[in-house]
């Protein structure tokens, strides 16, 4: 056991909590303080959509029982951090809270929504869907309030917060209009956007969905895959508007949203969820002397340490070097958790490095399940795609990305490097075990081998009719990827595996 160290963690999201619990498991005596502006309890941000529609209540999305803080002897402060005084080693808080001294500080302050750049973006009836306060705002606007009476104390921090904070609860159009939204809209075709759409559909509305791109979610889906999602949205009454650039959010005299004007016309709307991305939530610490990336994130080394050796960062707010040479945050639940663990180990004085493995993710788009693994939709030079669409009682698509194997062959004895070598999977409709798909990519399996063994990676529930790919489809050659965004640049193949 090392000398006692006062640990302060800003943020009780997954990164911060994971770190706190790991440090506590190793060091029963170290004082650990968690500062959080957003909520009293650690909750799953990924699950907000189900709370909004009523599938779960607020407490259901808390991954730990409420006595977890007491049991682990963690001190909690519900307040907004306003800065870090590095010379005195303390965190400054809003309101009448005294500064909190630290020996080691972990910043796990997550993301904030990217504000709309258009005129009217601040109107009543316009909001986001990223924070607990956003969730409460949307519950009000769509349903007139939360489904469960056990909603959290959203206002605990208000007296010391300000409208600049992403955790500031917005005024609702409900208050002045007296009724919930009848014509909602969502701006931005990504994962948060489609979640907001689903909330509206579950509330029996027929929302407008404004998407700037040529099809829904081009960074992950190709045209064929996206068409299916689009069809499903339209079946649910969603009015999908592709290639619409927003020009203005139109308001009335009360500064309340009445419509949305795009480059293709004006549409009536009394509610807009702006979901055009998230950005590191670091404005509060701009003058602390902790180095910030030009786009806001906190650059960290492999041990999650910042330029100040006593300050660490983890989760959505941290910026890491990616395989393609860029410096970006990884805004995912499981990577935030793993970064939190590595930060904790570093703070405990252990040697730990965070290494991002191959990319994988899953999601649910309306009622269609999605799994991806490896290098997909990156437009890698020489990339080919093998594609199959199942149209039986189960509907699914399988897209396998390959590169020609010859020049990559590094003397592997087996024959599975012949022909096309698999580097990525994009699967809709069925369930797959991504860990097996990733293993095949790392083992440099050939397309033929992967197709022969595909059933080993199946994770379908019992009694689901098995996938049968007809011989003719199996024998198809992968074709040069055509379903690309116009002007998408190509990149060189990854060299690290």
């Amino acid at each position: 056991m090392g000398p006692s160290s006062r640990i302060v963690i800003i943020g009780n999201g997954v990164a911060g909590m994971e770190a706190a619990l790991l440090i506590r498991a190793r060091e029963p005596q170290w004082p650990i303080t968690i500062i959080s502006e957003e909520s009293d309890h650690f909750f799953s941000r990924t699950a907000m959509m189900w709370v909004c529609c009523g599938q779960m209540n607020h407490q259901d999305i808390e991954p730990l029982q409420r006595d977890a803080y007491a049991n682990a002897n963690l001190t909690r402060i519900r307040a907004r951090a306003l800065g870090i005084d590095r010379s005195a080693q303390q965190v400054l808080l809003a309101g009448d809270h005294p500064p909190v001294p630290y020996d080691q500080l972990l910043i796990a302050c997550g993301s904030r929504p990217r504000p709309g750049p258009w005129k009217g973006s601040q109107a009543t009836g316009v909001g986001h869907f990223v924070t607990m306060q956003d969730l409460e705002w949307l519950e009000d606007e769509i349903h007139g309030g939360p489904a469960s009476t056990r909603a959290p104390r959203h206002d605990a921090h208000l007296r010391a917060s300000n409208p600049e904070s992403p955790y500031f609860k917005r005024g609702t159009a409900l208050e002045s209009r007296g009724s919930t939204s009848s014509q909602p809209a969502v701006i931005g075709g990504g994962l948060i956007g489609i979640e907001a759409i689903e909330i509206m559909v579950a509330a029996k509305r027929t929302p407008h969905f404004f998407i700037r791109d040529e099809w829904f979610w081009p960074i992950a889906l190709d045209t064929r895959e996206s068409r299916w999602i689009g069809e499903r949205m339209e079946q649910h009454g969603v009015q999908v508007h592709l290639e619409h650039e927003i020009e203005e959010l139109v308001t009335d005299d009360n500064h309340r949203l009445t419509g949305i004007r795009t480059n293709q016309g004006e549409f009536g709307a009394d509610l807009a969820v702006v979901a055009i991305g998230v950005m590191p939530n670091t404005d509060w610490m701009a003058n602390s002397g902790v180095e910030l990336h030009p786009r806001g994130g906190i650059p960290v080394n492999g041990s999650q340490a910042t330029n100040d050796p006593n300050i660490f960062a983890a989760g959505d707010c941290a910026v890491l070097p990616w395989w393609d040479g860029t410096q970006r945050p990884e805004q995912l639940w499981y990577t935030s958790r793993d970064q939190g663990r590595v930060a904790a180990r570093s703070m405990l004085g252990e040697k730990a490095t965070y290494q991002r493995g191959l990319w994988y993710n899953s999601a649910k788009l309306m009622d269609i399940e999605y799994t991806t693994a490896g290098f997909v939709n990156l437009n890698i030079t020489g990339e080919r795609n093998w594609y199959f669409e199942e149209q039986g009682s189960v509907r699914s698509t399988i897209r396998i990305v390959t590169l020609s194997a010859d020049d990559q062959d590094n003397g592997n004895q087996s024959d599975h490097n012949q022909g096309q070598r698999v580097i990525g999977f994009n699967m809709l409709g069925r369930r797959w075990d991504h860990s097996i798909l990733l293993q095949w990519i790392r083992e440099r399996r050939s397309l033929q081998w992967v197709l022969d063994h595909l059933k080993d990676a199946s994770f379908d529930t019992e009694l689901t009719p098995p996938l049968r790919i007809p011989k003719s489809a199996l024998q198809q050659e992968p074709i040069a990827a055509t379903a690309r965004k116009t002007n998408q640049p190509t990149i060189e193949p990854p060299t690290f595996f």
Binding site: G54, P63, A147, Y334, G357, H434, S435, T461
Partner: protein, 376 residues
């Protein structure tokens, strides 16, 4: 069309009667009142000279009020199954499971026992086994059964049920065959999210369910002993079996306490307040027994590594109050004794993390291969 995940978002907590509020309490009181009346109509009749259930049964051509109960039970299951399938019927596992469960109850739990006596046969419930149907191993019951049914009961209770549970988990019974489970998963399904997930409720369940199991075994053994002793000790006979059926004997107390109060009045009556599996989870001796075998057997819930987003859908909708999320977020495939294998956690999971399966014990675990590699 076959899909696996939850089909569209559920508005559970926005439906007042599913929220453990005033309407939940009212529905619960109605159910409890119904069960009390059902069990104690004779007593009511003795004092007030009315027996509406018996009269209603007679007017429907049913032999007694228990057949009326059986009829209502089937009707509630069919009705509930219809709504269950509307919510979760996009998955084939759910469709087949519920259909089998309802069919078993209607055929073996109602029609067959009703029809058999018409042809001079025995009224026999082939879908129920000891120790749930505690009197089916009482010597007098066995004595009165035709030989083939006595063999069926003994072999079913003591050999087939445990063996199937070893290979497929207790779900083969609790979620595919049993009428109590069937009612819970159909009529009771709208309240499945109300089961408590706290560690305290888990502790309570472990103590209570195994206590009832012990009582079931002990009372059956005593009644068997009493039979073997052939009334040699009348004091023992009076305590164990009683001289009249409603003497306060061990046999009567077990039947009243466990058979009537816990399984009927509390088990079903508390659906709208504590979820539909109050009986199965906390009191059913059959569930306890099969659960212990399940722990040793091949059934488990497999967790896909590092894909869980801790959303809590699985835990929320677990009718047995298992905190599935706590295993899923730790990448831990698991078998819990109480799991009845209804499949709803896997169905609800928006990331396809969970899978019910039967595997050889100690099958190699794939662990965390291929994921962000943390060098610790």
């Amino acid at each position: 069309m076959d899909q696996q995940g939850q089909n569209g978002l559920l508005t559970t907590y926005r439906e007042g009667w599913r929220k453990r509020g005033l309407s939940g309490i009212l529905i619960s009181l109605l159910l409890i009142g119904f069960y009390l009346f059902l069990y104690f109509e004779d007593k009511v009749h003795r004092y007030y000279h009315v027996r509406p259930l018996t009269d209603l049964a007679a007017s429907l051509g049913l032999r007694n009020r228990w057949y009326l109960y059986g009829f209502l039970y089937c009707a509630a299951m069919l009705f509930g199954a219809f709504y269950y399938l509307k919510r979760h019927g996009n998955s084939r596992y759910n469709r087949i499971r519920i259909s089998v469960n309802v069919a078993v109850q209607v055929m073996l739990g109602f029609l067959l026992p009703f029809i058999m006596p018409l042809f001079g046969g025995t009224e026999f419930y082939a879908s129920y086994f000891w120790p749930l149907k505690y009197d089916y191993l009482y010597p007098h019951t066995l004595q009165d059964l035709p030989l083939y049914l006595a063999v069926y009961t003994i072999a079913g209770s003591l050999i087939a049920a445990p063996l199937l549970a070893f290979f497929f988990g207790k779900r083969w019974y609790c979620s595919w065959v049993c009428g109590c489970g069937g009612l819970a998963n159909t009529f009771g399904d709208p309240w499945r999210h109300l089961s408590s997930k706290t560690t305290r409720s888990w502790r309570f369940e472990q103590v209570s369910v195994h206590t009832v199991m012990f009582l079931a075994i002990a009372s059956t053994a005593l009644i068997g002993l009493d039979y073997l002793m052939d009334n040699k000790s009348s004091a023992f006979h009076a305590v164990v079996s009683g001289n009249r059926w409603d003497d306060w004997s061990i046999k009567y107390v077990y039947g009243l306490g466990v058979g009537a109060i816990l399984s009927g009045v509390a088990g079903t009556g508390l659906y709208p307040l504590l979820g539909p599996r109050v009986w199965c989870r906390n009191f059913c001796p059959m569930a306890a027994m099969l659960g212990l075998i399940q722990k040793l057997g091949r059934y488990r819930i497999r967790v896909k590594p590092d894909m869980c987003i801790s959303c809590g859908n699985c835990s929320t909708y677990c009718e047995m109050g298992i905190d599935v999320r706590s295993y899923a977020q730790n990448n831990e495939s698991f078998t819990r004794a109480s799991c009845v294998g209804c499949g709803v956690c896997a169905h609800m999971c928006p990331r396809g993390v969970l899978k019910l399966e039967n595997v050889k014990p100690l099958a190699t675990e794939k662990g965390r291969q291929g994921l962000p590699i943390v060098h610790l």
